[in-house]
Amino acid sequence: MYVVVAGGGKVGANVARSLLRLGHEVTLVEQRRDRFDRLEEEFEHQVQRGDATELHVLERAGLARPPDLVLALTGDDEDNLVIAQIAKEKYGVEKVIARVNDPRNQAHFDLLGISPTVCATSSIMALVEHEVPEHDLIHLLELRQENLEIVEVQIDRDSPSAGKRIEALDLPDGARLISVMRAGHAEIAVGSTQLEAGDQVLAILEPGKEDELRRVLLRR
């Protein structure tokens, strides 16, 4: 497969190297002279110098072929957004993956239909939530297109839901329990399932319903 990687910093260079090792054809684009000189020693003709948001630079990198995949991996979110838009809409590239540097800019990528995106900060924060017990409601998965998310909740002895059947819970609209994990064994949650202290419950819900769900299950 032919891949154009925009941005030759640590992320872009490592991704380009990995793709080459897998046998793919790669063109890496880097604007900064000092970085380019270093990259050229390793990547030789497979790295080009230029601003990947300029059309003639993209064309020189083969955007008109078009590539099977474009990766917008620079350290600037506005540049990644523009690269992704131009690749998709001007050159008809079907698959574009964009890096989000500042998680606050995620909304801009969503607004402009740039998907999938990868944000290291968000991934790390999701792991922190998973590892730090004081976060009682853990985000496991964001289904951005569906505008839904999947969370995990740990039921403990003080939880008002412990000892209750799911059908007796006053769950908020836009939130459903999916499964209950007890003693290493998971079961699909149904109305007659009774929650117990120690259960790990998976729920699917609309973003923003977390506090209501927390109240019903945990009262915190």
Binding site: T53, D77, V82, I86, E89, A107, H108, L111, L112
Partner: protein, 142 residues
Amino acid sequence: MNALIIGCGRVGSAIALQLQREGWEVTVVDENEDALSRLGDHWAGSFLVGHGMDVDLLREAGIEEADAVVAATDGDNTNVVIGQVAQKRFDIGCVVVRVLDPARADFYTARGMRVVCPTKTAIDTLTEAVRSCEIPAAKVRT
């Protein structure tokens, strides 16, 4: 009428002052606090320090009540992103974006943005200026 100007360089500050003279309520946003001095000693409008892609800052700057938004920072890509956020997220009817690179200007114009490309204007004006020179006929090679 309310105008929000993002970027208070030579261009942004001059637009802000001009619109204010014409009776607009103007708010200016720039990353650099020192840019305020470009608006002179008697600036009566608002001035906020921050990045134009920061939605909280845009709200604080009153984007929801803005009749016009001008994106005139020194970054083409920043401007087209701010412009699209103003158009699509905040539904601002009058969004004007400065893009120096003619190729990117064409691309975003074709997508329905109101793009102003000073580079293109300079090219046209300079070319026209050359055309209008009177070159003595003896020197014209055919």
